[in-house]
Amino acid sequence: MENMAKIVFGFYTLIILGGSLVAVGAKSLVRAMVGLIATLLGVAGMYMLLNAQFMALMQILIYVGAVCVLIFFAIMLTRADAGGEEAASAPLRQNLLALTAVLSVGGILGWLVLTRPLATTGVPVEVSIEKLGLGLLGPYGLAFELISVVLLVSMAGAVLLAWERRNGK
């Protein structure tokens, strides 16, 4: 059982690694989006492995179902050329600077993670969906209401932004 978990963990890690490489490096934005979807599915698998099935479901529902469709709309509405807006590769200097930034941040955080291990329980805790729902309605009700307000405002703002110019000039 333990070995099986390790194998599955490695499999999901490979999916995440490959997917994020495609998402960051692909010349065509549609391909980058497919890489993003692979990464999101890999993370959903990780949630499943962490015994958080509800989170895995929400990950697929919200990210793959909603956010990726939004990104696809963005790609279509901006009439990205088929060759991809990223067709010409970035200048070497920019790549080097980006790599430096990533390695410095990643190095510091990785060093912190590796040298200061937390006390773990080993086995993931199980939280039932009932508990999550009661938490949303009880102690964390305010955050729940606030996030619905944020979603409403962002939706109204998006409509307003996309509308204004058509009416105006």
Partner: protein
């Protein structure tokens, strides 16, 4: 190496990929994709830390749920901004969008 460390390293990979993408991509949609990668890394880190330690597991899962909600709201607004910019400039390349109006 404990399981939690492995999960944190995977989250770190996601963060690094997103950071590299956002500093190297030259179109707004590519940057949006990179931001989503970073937010996913944050979510994975939160859930792993709450599930594998004696911390409050429910709080961790709900926190990640809120991160997802905020990511959805952010993607909606960024989509609208991208659409407006594409109408005004005809492109979403960041090198072209350099006009400020006070």
């Amino acid at each position: 190496m404990s399981a939690l460390t492995l999960y944190q390293l995977v989250a770190l990979i996601l963060l690094m990929a997103g950071l590299f993408g956002i500093s190297q991509r030259r179109s707004l949609v590519g940057m949006l994709i990179s931001v989503e990668l970073m937010l996913n890394g944050a979510g994975l880190s939160i859930v792993a830390a709450s599930q594998l330690t004696p911390a409050n597991a429910m709080l961790g899962q709900l926190g990640t749920l809120f991160v997802m909600g905020l990511a959805a709201a952010e993607a909606t607004l960024v989509l609208a901004i991208i659409v407006v910019i594409a109408r005004r400039f005809g492109t979403t390349k960041t090198s072209v969008i350099s006009t400020l109006k006070g």
